[in-house]
Amino acid sequence: MSNNDASIVLEAKGITKQFPGVLANDRVDLTLRRGEILALLGENGAGKSTLMNVLYGLYTPDAGEIWIKGEHVILQNPGDAIARGVGMVHQHFQLVPVMTVAENVILGSEITKLGGYIDKREANRRVRELSEQYGLEIDPTIEVEDLPVGLQQRVEIIKALYRQADILILDEPTAVLTPQESNELFRIMHDLTEKGVSIIFITHKLKEVLAIADRIVVLRGGRSVGAALPSESTEASLAELMVGRKVILQVDKDEAVPGKLVLEIDGLHVQDDRKHEAVKGLSLQVYAGEILGVAGVQGNGQREFVEALTGLRPSTEGKITIMGEDATHLTPRRITELDVAHIPEDREKHGLVMPYSIADNLVLNRYYRAPYSKNAILDREKIAENGAKLVKQFDVRTPSIYTHASSLSGGNKQKVIVAREFSRPVKLLIANQPTRGIDVGSIEFIHNQIVAQRDAGVAVLLVSAELDEVLSLADRVAVMFDGRIVKTLPIEEATREKIGLLMAGSEA
């Protein structure tokens, strides 16, 4: 059939992969041509990762065939895939921080001299050669931990190239990058394709797809629901394909009506887990009825900042005032009782107890109060009623309120947290990455909920690494870099370019 077409380097036919209770891939077809960038677009849980793991040999499909360069192959493990020129850059880098770039690259296929010694000189030479050949501009002798994230990602790419990959799978590569770093990555991707490398680019960011892809394949619910060309697509048309219905991308909101000062932070200092100072004198104010969006590349102290603010981590210096009360050293419970809601960054670590039912998770920080308990005895009926009510009100898609949180999709997990936090009186909402990694439908829902809270007079502090999210929700934008707020702008003045530069640490 189409295998005769010499330009096709990889073809998947009717890939089906079943997990207990989930048909992750349902007869998915995919073709990749030499030197093209194929964007694989889909919501979380659409089956993108499963499909890529099948192509990379991590999963064996239940049905379907994989053809690489005209040859029918059965991939038992990633080794088989690598041997056929398939390389994958995972979202979470698989690098050893204390090793140099070259050492990381050769790890697993070391160049050795007589006696089993690693030939570092030769390794450095080969890495430098690759780096020049593909315009990656990286010094092989630097230790990986000293590299910014964008460059670490290039090390991953070199790792694949070093293993002679000419089919590259990039899993959400821009999730950890600034807009400028993303553009740099796109340039590299472009260079790679000119040299004959073919790329599958996994993402859920519509803008990027339109900017870089040659072709687009959209997955939904494990099926391939359409192919598109960027020239013939718009963000709206792609979003509709992804979700299966019309999606309003722009959050619809009125002008903010800021009220009195709710949260004031003055010169806050916080240490990270390694006792390094991560927040270095951060100050900001949030007023009732407004959304202050904190933009910034991940790892600039946002996590430590929010944890200190919510009582999960001690601060070393500075002052936090909530509704006029000194909240610098309060416990998480005392802060919650000041009517502060917190959507934590890591929903599976802080936000939910995975083996608990949805109903139990919905009372996680209120279980000890009436009506959920009386005289230290839980009222199971009331907890169940609350669960049923919130599941309905916040549209959590679950077979039952007794379902464990762990079996929900990312979006529904987040809805459980939002339901819990928004269903009580709130004066201050702290939302850290409230929509990370969840489907468009849930994002839309959660964004609307946040705006509704604002309109009800809640002061909202939104921390997000997704610039688009900050720009579409915030009334004022504060840019965080290296543990400080470097600048706060009204939304009208906050352009992508200006914010992007500030995020990278240069004064705009």
Binding site: G21, L312, T331, P332, R334, M354, Y356, Y402, S407, R436
Partner: protein, 372 residues
């Protein structure tokens, strides 16, 4: 909008309960069968008739009312030590120190039992039990506090405290609390007053009824009270517990104390109901076997009871087996070890019975690879 139809709720619960119960008992059940099977092979290889041996074992454990009583007596302290270990597990703590806590509880109960005279039985026995339990709780407090304030791991600390407990009890039984009655040369405390004894009702030791009640109370505490919710939250996700405003450090200490209380209470029941005094060596291994019982019972308060009964039955029947089938009674230890092995290495059992890991685990795996 405010409530779910009662019917659905009941159905949901029922289906969930049945699935949960099957999930939790299938592995231990098969593990027991496999352990007996391997034990049978061993018996056969060593020249005995496995059927005969097992027949004698069962007869020795359940064949007569007296045999049943012996089984229950053997099972009673194991229920308590099993509950102690299982309870700590719920908070994510591994209490290897049930043995030490049990010894302390046993000797303190013995002291209260022999040293106080003239109390009516209705006060004396409960008092001795309670103080035995509290002594265990105090002994459990030590590793809890050390973990919270110094970060010392409870496994290491409780292992060491077991040796400390052995030496303290040896010293007391051969020193200040030694039985000085004429003719006694061994290290042991005096016999407890009759008023401190826990009676046997027919062939059912009252202590065993206490054990069953303890299991019910532990279940209720874990699943029906805010304290239980807090403890389980700490055990399942300490970060989320912190987020929820639960004081994790306090829960760790409290859990170790409750666990120690259960173990100490078990020791006290053994002293007051069976041994009648404290004598070094008589309680050996009861706390350690609690770990086996807790694991076999899948750390569920109600799972602990059948697990303890099984272990108790093997201990009670072993002599009969040795006597009538001519098999060394240590074979029961081998069987126990294999059962525990299969419970711990549940992958083997799950593979045998084709039980897949729960859907949750699988789905997590599928999205785990750079999924989001």
């Amino acid at each position: 909008m405010t409530s779910v139809p009662a019917q659905d709720k009941g159905k949901d619960r029922a289906i969930g309960a049945v699935r949960r119960i099957w999930r939790s008992i299938s592995v231990p059940l098969v593990a027991v069968l496999l352990g007996l099977l391997i034990g049978g092979i061993l018996l056969f290889v060593s020249g005995a008739n496995p059927f005969e041996a097992y027949g004698a074992l069962i007869k020795g454990a359940f064949g007569t009312p007296v045999a049943v009583q012996r089984t229950l007596e053997k099972a009673t302290p194991l229920v308590f030590s099993g509950l102690a270990v299982a309870f700590a597990f719920k908070a994510g703590l591994f209490n290897i120190g049930a043995q030490g806590q049990l010894l302390i509880g046993a000797i303190v109960a013995a002291y209260v039992g022999f040293a106080i005279e003239g109390l009516p039985a209705i006060i004396h026995a409960p008092l001795a039990l309670l103080i035995g339990g509290l002594a265990g709780a105090l002994y459990g407090y030590i590793p809890g506090v050390l973990k919270v304030y110094t970060g010392a791991h409870e496994v290491i600390v409780t292992i060491m405290l077991n040796y400390v407990a052995i030496n303290i009890t040896d010293y007391l039984a051969d020193g200040p609390w030694k039985d000085l009655s004429p003719g006694n040369v061994v290290a042991r405390t005096p016999k407890i007053q009759p008023s401190a004894e826990i009676p046997i009702l027919g062939n059912i030791p009252l202590g065993f009824i206490f054990a069953v009640l303890a299991a019910i109370i532990v279940w209720w505490l874990l699943y029906r009270t805010t304290l239980g919710y807090e403890i389980r939250t700490v055990g399942l996700n300490a970060s989320a517990a912190q987020y929820a405003g639960i004081r994790v450090a306090r829960m760790v200490i409290l859990t170790m104390m409750i666990s120690g209380f259960l173990a100490g209470f078990g020791g006290a029941v053994e002293t007051l109901g069976i041994v009648g005094r404290y004598q070094p060596g008589f309680n050996a291994g009861l706390g350690f076997d609690g770990i086996t019982v807790a694991l076999l019972g899948k750390t569920s308060p109600f799972g602990v009871i059948p697990a303890a009964l099984l272990m108790g039955a093997m201990r009670a029947g072993a002599s009969q087996m040795q006597f009538s089938a001519g098999v060394a009674k240590e074979i029961t230890d081998v069987i126990t070890a294999f059962i525990l092995f299969f419970v711990a290495a549940d992958v083997i059992v799950k593979w045998l019975i084709r039980q897949r890991d729960s859907d949750d685990e699988r789905i997590m795996l599928s999205s785990g690879w750079g999924g989001n």
